[in-house]
């Protein structure tokens, strides 16, 4: 009996000490692999094409991208950091550098909700220059993150031998994932006015192919409000997968067609990790758990005492 009392006393004192240590919030510093992602969204006007299915009806590529981003962020584990940027013309703009998803969840979702085509100052799109711009922007901002570029691969105006930037000397150690957004059926691109109202469809005549010419600009940089007058004039757009794969190959990136958040997260996980950071591993819950286990062990019937008694009695 004395043995049992002492045994229980030791256990209870141990549990008390563990709880007291736990209450001082102990932690150890560890190096942990940090997943940082930079989501760059194409906000050019071809992303307004409504050829993506969502809840049984077609929605625009941009709206689909927003849904996809929100679902992806929702399913990312805490401590993952996500930044946001937009692409238009031949450049990228950083909305913010990667921030932790769980503690900034609503801010991220709110920003995604507000993404729209009118954020683009110009209607043209040069993805090759955009890739260089994103890389340069992240380097100068000292952001270490894997880049997820959501685009339909639509170049406007279409590239020719003079305007097609050679990416063969690409140097960027970050993991890149090009995410293809759009349907496979050629679809006219809606043209919207400044009030976000559809005024018609883009005409093939307004897609100028001269090098260095900006789409959607008339004389003296005025907005070109011309629209296609007949269906045969429609400038058609679809997800240009062969071109996206070519781009991915040029920069050593991976390509995935966006279909659902689960596949996207798997592809993101497969990207090489780019950052390690020192973080605190909280020990308080571990110590509290041990205190609980110690406490529970005192409930166990006196096994040791019974064994000793049996030995003595032979």
């Amino acid at each position: 009996m004395i043995l049992k009392i002492n045994y229980d006393l030791i256990i209870l004192v141990t549990a008390l000490i563990l709880l007291l240590i736990a209450s001082s919030q102990p932690s150890v510093k560890i190096m942990r692999q940090q997943k940082n992602y930079m989501f760059v969204v194409d906000v050019t006007q071809s992303m307004n094409v409504q050829d993506m299915p969502f809840a049984g009806k077609p929605i625009s590529r941009l709206a689909y991208t927003k849904q996809l981003l929100k679902q992806t962020i929702e399913n990312l584990p805490c401590n993952t950091k996500v930044g946001l940027g937009i692409f238009f013309r031949g450049s990228a703009a950083l909305l913010y550098t990667p921030i932790e998803t769980c503690s900034n969840y609503h801010a991220l979702l709110d920003t995604i909700d507000h993404l729209e085509w009118r954020m683009a100052s110009h209607g043209s799109s040069n993805i090759r220059l955009g890739l260089q711009s994103i890389s340069s922007l992240l380097t100068t901002s000292n952001v270490s993150a894997s880049v997820m570029f959501f685009t339909d691969g639509e170049e406007a105006p279409p590239l020719n031998i003079f305007s097609k930037t050679n990416l063969s000397g690409w140097q960027d150690a970050r993991g890149w994932l090009l995410v293809g957004i759009g349907g496979n059926k050629p679809t006219p691109i809606p043209k919207l006015n400044a009030n976000n109202e559809v005024i018609g469809y883009w005409s093939t005549y307004s897609i100028k192919i001269e090098p260095a010419t900006q789409v959607n600009e008339g004389a003296n940089n005025q907005r070109d409000e011309s629209i296609a007058t007949a269906p045969y004039e429609y400038y058609l757009s679809k997800l240009d997968e062969p071109y996206m794969k070519e781009l991915a190959s040029d920069i050593g990136a991976q390509y995935i067609k966006a279909d659902n958040a689960e596949n996207l997260i798997i592809a993101m996980d497969n990207l090489p990790s780019n950052a390690y950071e020192q973080t605190k591993l909280e020990l308080n819950w571990i110590l509290a758990l041990f205190a609980l286990l110690a406490m529970l062990s005192s409930y166990i019937p006196d096994v040791m005492h019974k064994i000793n008694t049996r030995k003595k009695t032979g």
């Binding site: 008390l16 709880l19 406490m295």
Partner: protein, 151 residues
């Protein structure tokens, strides 16, 4: 302390329960007096009224628990019996202390100045009470459970 078969060796439980019920009644009268605006009591119980109410209810609950264990008529080792009686008091007294010393109440942290080392002492007391109560009532429950398998 004389322990007879009538009490299954648990006379300390019935004594403890009786005392803590008296304590609960005392606190009930303190609450009545506070509602009548008795100034000395307002000085003594400077914290939240709800803490005093919690202490009163906790004393009653703990007493009821002890009476239940006593009623099971299962003989407990002396350390289990005393852990129950002491734990019942210390657990309830945590609320009582918070009603007397609002600085110990985390919900009043922004309204009253900190009491320094006493907060740490209170924390040790809290954990010790938690362990004592868990040990006494937990072990008592295990022993009652075991007794149901004996012929």
């Amino acid at each position: 302390m004389q322990q007879t078969d009538k009490h299954a060796g648990n006379v300390v439980l019935i004594r403890g329960a009786a005392l803590w019920i008296l304590m609960a009644l005392l606190l009930a009268w303190c609450m009545v007096a506070l509602n009548f605006g008795v100034t000395p009591l307002k000085t003594i119980f400077a914290g939240k009224f709800t803490r005093l109410l919690q202490a009163h209810i906790d004393f009653l609950l703990m007493s009821a628990l002890i009476l239940g264990y006593y009623g099971a008529k299962v003989p407990f080792p002396w350390h289990v019996r005393w852990a129950m009686v002491i734990g019942a008091f210390t657990n309830s007294s945590l609320f009582l202390l918070q009603s007397i010393f609002p600085a110990l109440d985390p919900t009043m942290a922004d309204k009253v100045p900190s009491v320094g080392i006493w907060s740490q002492v209170f924390l040790i007391y809290l954990f010790a009470s938690l362990i004592t109560t868990s040990y006494g009532f937990g072990k008592g429950a295990v022993l009652i459970f075991k007794s149901t398998f004996k012929s």
